[in-house]
Symmetry: C2
Subunit: 380 residues, 2 copies
Amino acid sequence: MTATLGSTPITAPGWTGKPRSGLALIDCDVHQIISKQEDLYPYLSRLYRERVEDQGMLLPGSGYFNVPKRAARSDLNTGCDANMADHNIHTIGSQYELLRSQHLDMWNVDYALLTGASVYPASVIPDPDFGAALCRAFNDWTMDTWASRDERFIVAISVSANDPQRAAEEIYRMAGHPQVRAIMLPTGSRMPYGNRFYHPIWQACAETGLVVGIHPGAEGAGMAGSPTGVGYPTYYIEVRMARPQMAMAHVVSFIAEGVFEKYPTLKLLVDECDQFWLVGLMWHMDADWKSLREQTPWVRRLPSEYVLEHVRVGSQPMLEPERREQFFQMLDAMHAERTLVYSSDWPHWDWDDPATTFPRMPEHLHQRVFSDNARELFGL
Amino acid sequence: MTATLGSTPITAPGWTGKPRSGLALIDCDVHQIISKQEDLYPYLSRLYRERVEDQGMLLPGSGYFNVPKRAARSDLNTGCDANMADHNIHTIGSQYELLRSQHLDMWNVDYALLTGASVYPASVIPDPDFGAALCRAFNDWTMDTWASRDERFIVAISVSANDPQRAAEEIYRMAGHPQVRAIMLPTGSRMPYGNRFYHPIWQACAETGLVVGIHPGAEGAGMAGSPTGVGYPTYYIEVRMARPQMAMAHVVSFIAEGVFEKYPTLKLLVDECDQFWLVGLMWHMDADWKSLREQTPWVRRLPSEYVLEHVRVGSQPMLEPERREQFFQMLDAMHAERTLVYSSDWPHWDWDDPATTFPRMPEHLHQRVFSDNARELFGL
């Protein structure tokens, strides 16, 4: 490869770049992406393959421009010029070798959670059978093309929330594979995910031990409503800023609907919605619960207790406080030693590398955030 | 009055209960509430009065139970038993004498912003003329029944966002009155308020010097969409938890749409949506703006700079951190010395009194939060 662009590991405070003892680094958000719709043809029934050939995948979009190169990192050493058309999220995100050499090997990643992305909008496609078929095809493609090639991969399978019963069937179909450790759903949805409509999905996850993942996607698209509680914003930056809002609504819903009482082993991972909203949410909801709990008597404990036991939050995009000590104040307030897991968001433009994103953390906290929290979450 | 219930001032750290030099206490959220729809009849045209007599005010609701007594404080000494049917938000919120004796005089309030509430849903009534007529009637009732009786009152007039031109007309009609210092809109809306649809309202506010107020109300009702970015939640506590989400969406929208560049003197007061979301919003949006500002080139400064210059946040409900020092860390991170104003939310059940809600603050910060920030905001 001709190195026209590229990055090399940066020696940041607190990061050695060398293997540590035990598990040192688990990345909870790595995207594998199909290069083209034809990748899924071998895994689709003839019926859907012919329809997709004729009319495309019909994945609903929300109509907001992203950054150039369809949101791909432009700093990667891919052998092609970053300005060329073939340097984009599809060519980059579909290459296992690139992920291996420029992420897994480079940073000594022990485990990487494959979180998909290509079929997130399947959850907001009107036809629940087609949505389920797209997820099933993508999962099979993922196992064949990615999981089987590297034992460092663990997989969050895609399911369509549009038909919880079909989603549960897909969970039972896939959960037996040792690399499958989670499901992944888009933030964009018709209802907050605690709603009883979705409980068959949570039941299947509880029974199989899969973590429930939520990741930005499909917001404002298809059957999902507007991406904010006050309608459709105008620009992409607003949709990004709506991610914590959607995360908050889902987490509040899981707690208020008693999902964690009904399924006491269920764990929730919220990726790529930033982090510090968790602080205000816990403080506010605890106070409100003290006054209002007669309305939701199945919520038997302080909401923050459910958060600390059941909810984990991905680190990317890691917020940048004005002053260094504020970073640690916020980590402390969110109980990062229990709630925060490292996520890179490979290979998107706003990814966070494990070395320079965080200031130097105490060894114990470093170990919790970069390894132990995720290890416990996924049973690694 | 027979004192069956009642509260007396509490001597809390940092609060003397005695007059200070200069303005000591400005309350930025006091509700005046009609006792019954007939209160507005003298201020409605015959056409609308007859319709309202026949079919009611048609104010859209969102279908979530609140606390008993229609969300009124039950600790007030009203002369009636708190368990009686006539102890509710309508009987309590419509009594000037009660507000005067048990709030304004009790706490030595220098100014109180009358924020209304009774006609917030006028903004999401389909018929824009009827919505505007309700607001106009409520404003006239407010001036006659409240503002004229106590010079400590300043008024946030109600306008309907449904027709920005008619809202602007109401602003120009009312802005000449020296007690009118703001408008008030509900959080519930069809679009984020930065949208260019609403700019005639902001232009009228900029030209007349009125502050733009936003307060929970009408979320999920009438023409407003769902109160979260992921659809309709199930329980009241979830709608309360959605308030910061809606506040975030509106503030982000004002900045991203360039409203503060277009109207450089415009000020925004966000009441009753809690506070600490402002911290993550500034940190996140500053970082995103650095990457994405080519998409919104009219946003010429760091988003946090617009926040610090243009956005003020009411203190109620004041979040309750786990530890005392976290309170001050958050106040510091949100630049409370510029952004935070005291709000009581009289006479709702979750009101915050000025003495016991806050821990003892340094004198300078106390003066900013309880007086100076609001004084500068409203030009008092």
